[in-house]
Symmetry: C2
Subunit: 405 residues, 2 copies
């Protein structure tokens, strides 16, 4: 089949499961709420990259929480198969006592404390009874039903196992989850509450609960997040969700548009007349960054590698300054390509024109929507000056970067 | 939200994307063809595990080849975003020359030579031009369009890159695929053609092309497979597909129901009166097996670990005999739970009542349908005699198995 010319049918591929074109009132309510959030972030909701963001966010959120509309009995009931156990001997096997384990199911869920997605590696085991087994894929499907909701890891495990116990009626069920929440930026550590003073020790796994509120959030934005929770089918008044809008905004406001350009006066390097033979490639590798995808309002994060030329007579620039630049351009609504260019241009304003920047990132929007490409990662490159013309220079820098594939 | 009682809506979750209830004529044609195949395999199409198999196969195949109905321009056109390049300096970055790479996209596809699914690790890179970039997830979605068809690795790479070049119009595109085809059983090696005699050397990557036909296939079954190809939207007469029905049947007929029980007279061990203190656990680990899931007519394969007690006076049984038993029960339409029990019961008929069997498997039906759990694996356990009552014995055997998590 040819690449393009033979495609005769037009199929909506957005988000894997077609939830209609989001003309339901819930979807429109989410879109309105997202517009409030974008404006609260100081953004122009009509700029090209953001124009369809409310629509994309509504689709992604509804897809990511579709478990509210799914029924376990429907999934399991057609997939229980008669299967004999051990007949003539002492023992357990098959449909009577034969342990079944499905390992390493990749799921993602939304943290009910802060509304950010988290990744789950799920292992499910059960012991069949009553001479029946369930289709193996149903263990995954049932786990998905509960993962696709606002969750807490322990409750997710409880709900999956209770649902399997109830629907399959086996001798026993075990669910093991390995959950990874997105890390919060370290420098917020300044705000970490002392767990031993004032109030009970927080036992939550969500890092948002360890951070003191950064000040009163805008009440219109709080209402907007509450209305999103409501539109997803949640009750914003249940006790685990009471603080969620404030915690989500605590995260989101890190990415507020400050409408400032970074000025680096005073850091400008006087460009000496050294020859290229004296130059060597300096590098600062694996500077962490956090950013928020402007297309889906979802985090992307990873590391930045910066390479530049320096003669022996110039001291390498401080790591903390480069990290500040990375944070400055990271903490905005962004796309990775722009982030890479902005860091390169900014760094080159005081390190000279020969700069190369590589950004390696994981995008939660690549795992938490219909695409669900769990192991994927993205690398973007900017090459200025000599790095744009000299492939040897590029190769030399790339070879310095650890584990770059 | 509670586990079960609050689910108010009933949503069909089968296969992720709802393709209707397969009432389209193409789906019914596939179901008819699958019935012909099941009968050709000597199966009773009304037995419980197979009753809905035609329906499941039709859904899975249509879902797995939905790329025939998808249009790249639809996917990309709404997701091109203006993005500046380097402005005041020499260089490439952002929307003009800034290389973008998305790595480690897990895909699966169907081999056009033999109709078995194969796994793909896909890496896509492009160099933006014209001051625009494409949404990162679209690189994955475009790759999916071509993966979800009958494919050959080189053509898949060509089609993905041509489609991206055509739709994004970048400076350049690169696609790297790492494809793994299911291995064919080694003992079929007896039938491998000598590549240096008779006819041109086959350059296909598909192992099916290295095997001589095992005899004339049933013409009704050949027609059935051809009709499936046609129903998926393919042209069964295009040259790459001409031999596909025969090659698929060459694989499938490995799993023909032979209606025989394995008799192991002559191997029966005389059960001595040794005490348990003299016994030790013997094991045969990682015996490979191939089987075919009776629910989806898709391969599952992996390894079998067998543990049993033996006194010092009894020689451990030959590995080749155990491997034969594993193959005997593997080469059928199966479910993993039954396979595990059958191996355990069969082995115990000559190795005594104390037998434990662990089967570790990868199910292509877990990756090649809507579920797409790429890294997942399944383990099933059968415990007979002492292994069913003595947890120390179970633990001891499990500790012998390498890398069992």
């Amino acid at each position: 089949m040819g690449a393009l010319d033979e495609c005769q049918y037009i199929v909506e591929l957005e988000n894997g499961v077609n939830l209609g074109d989001c003309i339901e009132p819930e979807a429109l309510a989410i879109e309105d709420a997202v517009r409030v959030l974008l404006q609260g972030l100081g953004e122009d909701i009509n700029r090209e990259g953001l124009r369809k963001t409310p629509h994309r966010v509504a689709k992604a959120l509804r897809e990511g929480t579709r478990g509210y509309n799914q029924n376990v009995m429907d999934i399991v009931s057609g997939a229980l198969f008669p299967e004999a156990g051990v007949e003539s001997k002492l023992g357990n096997a098959g449909g009577a006592g034969g342990l079944v384990i499905v390992r390493d199911l990749d799921l993602f869920s939304y943290c009910e404390s802060c509304l950010l997605p988290f990744q789950v590696k799920c292992h499910v085991g059960y012991v069949p009874s009553g001479h029946q087994v369930v289709g193996l894929s149903k263990l995954s499907r049932v786990a998905e039903v509960f993962a696709k909701r606002l969750q807490d890891p322990q409750r997710l495990a409880n709900e999956i196992s209770a649902a399997l116990q109830h629907s399959i009626k086996p001798t026993g069920v075990a669910v093991v989850l390995q959950c990874s929440h997105i890390h919060f930026p370290d420098f917020q550590g300044l705000n970490v509450e002392n767990a031993h003073s004032g109030g009970p020790v927080s036992k939550s796994w969500c890092p948002s609960e360890a951070f003191r509120k950064m000040g009163q959030s805008d009440s219109a934005m709080i209402s907007a997040v509450s209305s999103i929770l409501h539109s997803l089918g949640e009750n914003p008044s249940r006790k685990e969700l009471l603080e969620t809008p404030a915690r989500f905004l605590n995260w989101l406001m890190n990415f507020k548009n400050c409408n400032l350009d970074m000025k680096l006066n005073g850091f400008v390097r006087t460009n000496g007349d050294f020859t290229s033979n004296e130059d060597r490639i300096c590098s600062e590798l694996s500077l962490p960054f956090w950013s928020q995808c402007e297309h889906h309002l979802l985090p992307f994060h990873g590391v930045v590698h910066i390479g530049y030329y320096s003669s022996n007579r110039v001291n390498p620039v401080g790591k903390s300054l480069l990290q500040s630049i990375v944070h400055f351009y990271g903490f905005k609504l962004q796309v990775q390509e722009r982030l890479t260019r902005q860091i390169a241009e900014s760094v080159s304003s005081f390190l000279g024109e020969d700069v190369m920047v590589v950004v390696e990132a994981n995008h939660t929007c690549m795992i938490s929507r219909g695409i669900e490409k769990f192991g994927s990662s993205t690398a973007t490159f900017a090459v200025l000056g000599r790095f744009s013309t000299d492939s040897t220079a590029r190769t030399k820098f790339l070879q310095i970067i650890p584990n770059l594939s």
